[in-house]
Symmetry: C2
Subunit: 192 residues, 2 copies
DNA sequence: GAGCGCATGTAAAGGGTTACATGATTCT
DNA sequence: AGAATCATGTAACCCTTTACATGCGCTC
């Protein structure tokens, strides 16, 4: 489970409320690890019970800000240093590609064009954001620099996918004669 | 939920058992949409109850092969054509990057080097597989061509991430003086 | 005082993983 | 005969999403 450690990581930057954390997930973080507020609030309760975070202050509108404890800081660091990275992705976009052969050629063309646009726009937006970091508009703290690195990955992945969508449209791989006929081929298609 | 439609998509290629499908997920598909056998078996039961698939045959070792029905084929196509793509990813690799500032510099260096190696190797393996497709070793069916497109995305993403990991190691963004000190900065780091 | 955004939560359902369990067939 | 692999399933638990619910504080 990464959410637990993600929350600890965010709280390592400074105290924050569940609402604050949910906002950060809905922005940058949510594009690589979605999380909605009910999950965040309940995870915070568990983290507090485990002594990894504690209530720092209460504000207006019964706002509760949490602060990370020493035990919590140790735990994030342990996660980062010792727990193996899970390299499996979950990307519906690519999952769908395996089934493109079931789509009508016009639908597929439109789909790929829309994907290309989407990824190119996302990449451009992230690139613009990265540029503001490079101009120093967010300071030069360690956190900012780490975010810059994460941002770079986002830019490159979105650029790569935009390029892929363009390639897929241009390649004749999918435009051959038998494509888009009503029925699938019989048989599995395993090689000799 | 994508698994339901993924199973339908695979069964559209031809009849298969739960075991077969689990194997395909553990190979190529699992890298973009993980699924273990208990989930697959129980989903197959639900798909059969919904009339989207039916038992085609029973074989040795009480093997049960399923075949997609016309309703099932219609349903995958509807999914591909009408249901909006969910562009959110789930990538622990990138999620961690937001918290790199909490890592010891040596640990981070080693981590990034390992990531670069991993992605470069994965990209190379996928590229090799894609080449066998381009040499026609798997035929030229629609399915093969769709898989070729999915494969290309895998190659490009892994290449992009290998490049990113290399860039992250080379950039001085993370190697500045204050990195790796025991305590995080105080305060949130929001801009002016 | 009406409406909006802040802020927190609960409940229920759905999706996904891990552990456990079993039996059949093939290979050596 | 024993080991490996094929093949299916159940149970328990955990993670995640969606819907429902509530109240406070600020602004117009």
């Amino acid at each position: 489970m990464s959410l637990r450690h993600g929350l600890l990581g965010l709280l390592a930057e400074g105290p924050a409320s569940g609402y604050d954390l949910a906002r950060r997930f809905s922005q940058a973080l949510g594009s690589v690890w979605p999380a909605q507020h009910p999950q965040i609030y309940s995870e915070l309760v568990r983290l507090e019970a485990a002594g990894l975070i504690e209530v720092e202050s209460t504000g207006p509108r019964r706002r509760k800000a949490y602060r990370i404890t020493d035990a919590g800081l140790t735990e994030v660091r342990r996660w980062l240093a010792e727990v193996d990275v899970d390299h499996t992705f979950r990307m519906e976009v690519l999952f769908r590609a395996y089934f493109y052969w079931l789509m009508e050629p016009e639908d597929l063309k439109a789909h790929l064009a829309a994907e290309q646009r989407f990824f190119a726009e996302t990449a451009a937006a992230l690139r613009g954001y990265a540029d503001t970091k490079d101009r120093g508009e967010w300071g030069t703290s360690k956190q900012t620099r780490a975010m810059r690195i994460a941002l770079e990955a986002g830019v490159r992945i979105n650029e790569a996918l935009a390029g892929w969508a363009q390639w897929a449209q241009e390649t004749d791989v999918m435009t051959a004669e038998d494509f888009g006929t009503a029925k699938p081929d019989d048989g599995g298609g395993e090689p000799a």
